[in-house]
């Protein structure tokens, strides 16, 4: 029995005087897909950004694969490559081709040779179905393709967990499916994932657990079948009623 891949305890984060995360405990087991929902401003993005210390927590511990991220001796840059992150706005590097977007960190962080890095990058692009777009620049790709390249960029570094922050919210409805398809395959391949999203249908058939956050706290957590049909907390009920309306 292995421990959780991600283990967060007592996580607190304030911006100025506003406490945005007010004590979060969350463990994600290997190969688990945990879904986070919650109203705007509830702290979902901040929680994800604390998981790789893009945002500096004020208190709490974060263990990734048993390594304490808050420990001074931990090399955060070395750890980050194992924590893949996918953003709502893709954030591809516009001045680099898809291939270079994916291979940059392989070369600079993992210290692969150019040839090796590009071979690995091609494999990653293949996994998201975009091998033939390797030479294209982000501006030449659709939103859905850009987001898949962004997924390949994280994937190429062989992460032990992947964080998704509303990966489909910026996409036209007809492009959402291709990105969710890739995420579904990742799940099938055994990737551990923490996903902030409001794609309820995807949550229903891919998530192991759904977490409802509000005002910087986890209000409720349950399997998707339960939380969407019979939420326990009134706040969850109100939120889900809004979503499904």
């Amino acid at each position: 029995m292995t421990g959780p891949i991600l283990d967060i305890r007592g996580l607190r984060k304030s911006f100025g005087h506003v406490e945005v995360l007010r004590g979060i405990d969350l463990a994600v087991k290997p190969q688990e897909l945990v879904f986070i929902i919650g109203p705007s401003g509830s702290g979902k993005s901040t929680l994800l950004r604390c998981c790789n210390r893009l945002e500096e927590p004020n208190a709490g511990t974060i263990l990734v694969d048993g390594v304490d991220l808050m420990d001074r001796r931990t090399n955060i840059n070395a750890m980050r490559r194992h924590i893949g992150m996918v953003f709502q706005s893709f954030n591809l590097y516009p001045h680099l081709s898809a291939l270079s977007n994916v291979s940059l960190a392989l070369r600079k962080v993992v210290k692969k040779s150019r040839a090796e890095a590009e071979a690995l990058a091609l494999t990653a692009l293949e996994r998201v179905g975009l091998r033939e777009k390797a030479k294209s620049y982000p501006s030449e790709l659709s939103g859905g393709q850009q987001q898949r390249v962004a997924i390949a960029r994280a994937l190429a570094l062989e992460p032990t967990i992947m964080l998704f922050d509303e990966p489909t919210s910026a996409l036209d409805p007809e492009l959402v499916g291709s990105v969710l398809g890739v995420m579904r395959e990742l799940k099938q391949d055994g990737m551990t994932m923490l996903v902030v999203s409001h794609e309820m249908r995807f949550a229903r058939d891919a998530a192991d657990r759904v977490i409802f956050m509000d005002h910087g706290l986890i209000v409720e957590e349950a399997p998707p079948s339960q939380i969407f049909t019979s939420p326990r907390e009134p706040r969850t009920r109100t939120f889900i009623a809004e979503l499904t309306r």
Binding site: R49, R80, F87, Y93, H95, A105, K108, V109, A150, A154
Partner: protein, 221 residues
């Protein structure tokens, strides 16, 4: 009309002044080769310093930038050349120009770079850092290439200004293009050498000016 042509476009005089004006042109080119890379490098350093999260440090940088932008470059040059000897620092004219221009240009170039760096969104930093790139790797590989591309027209425009400003070196008797042309003018009592010098400035700067317009048009589209 005849008199005008004779005073400004006298080909005979231009031909006679040409050797002198060409030595001036060489000095001006030499100045550019020293001063432009120094300014570009100094400006980048200034821009990076103004990003340092340490507040006191950042304020000091901003203060220095403001100071050197407010002081007329001519004053700065005269001070460096004629004032510093009193502090025991004696510089050759070329070195004096290099120092004065470094102080002045770094501030201007620095502001251009800074605008460029600020034009690159936080998402780019987030993406790069999330893959494990260090701060310097992120700057080098992700942020600066985009920043520089975004402000390339301004960098070139600023460079055009710098080339024009090199004529200031004439006040400390460095025989650059304008100084030599003016010398030829006073020897011949004819303005044609100045027109010749103006032609050389035009020849150097016109391609740059055109490039700026083209880049600006491309960025706009």
């Amino acid at each position: 009309m005849e008199a005008l042509l004779n005073q400004f476009f006298n080909l005979d005089i231009m031909a006679r002044a040409l050797p002198l004006v060409l030595t001036g042109l060489k000095q001006t080119l030499l100045l550019c080769i020293v001063v432009i890379p120094l300014g570009l490098a100094g400006g980048l350093l200034v821009a990076l310093l103004s990003l340092v999260p340490w507040r006191v440090f950042r304020w000091a940088t901003i203060l220095a930038i403001d100071f050197f932008r407010a002081v007329p470059p001519l004053v700065l040059l005269i001070f460096v050349y004629s004032g510093l000897p009193f502090a025991g620092i004696r510089l050759t004219p070329l070195a004096a120009v290099a120092v004065a221009f470094l102080l002045n240009n770094s501030s201007y170039y620095g502001e251009v770079y800074r605008a460029g760096i600020e034009s690159v969104g936080r998402g780019q930093w987030d993406a790069a850092r999330s893959t494990g790139l260090t701060l310097t790797q992120t700057l080098r590989n992700v942020v600066l290439p985009q920043a520089i591309r975004n402000v390339l027209p301004d960098l070139i425009s600023n460079t055009v200004e710098v080339v024009k400003l090199t004529s200031l070196a004439s006040v400390i008797a460095l025989p650059e293009l304008l100084y030599s042309a003016d010398m030829a003018r006073s020897l011949t009592f004819n303005t044609s050498p100045i027109v010749l010098a103006a032609g050389f400035y035009l020849l150097m700067l016109w391609p740059l000016v055109r490039l700026v317009s083209r880049l600006e048009r491309r960025i706009a589209s």
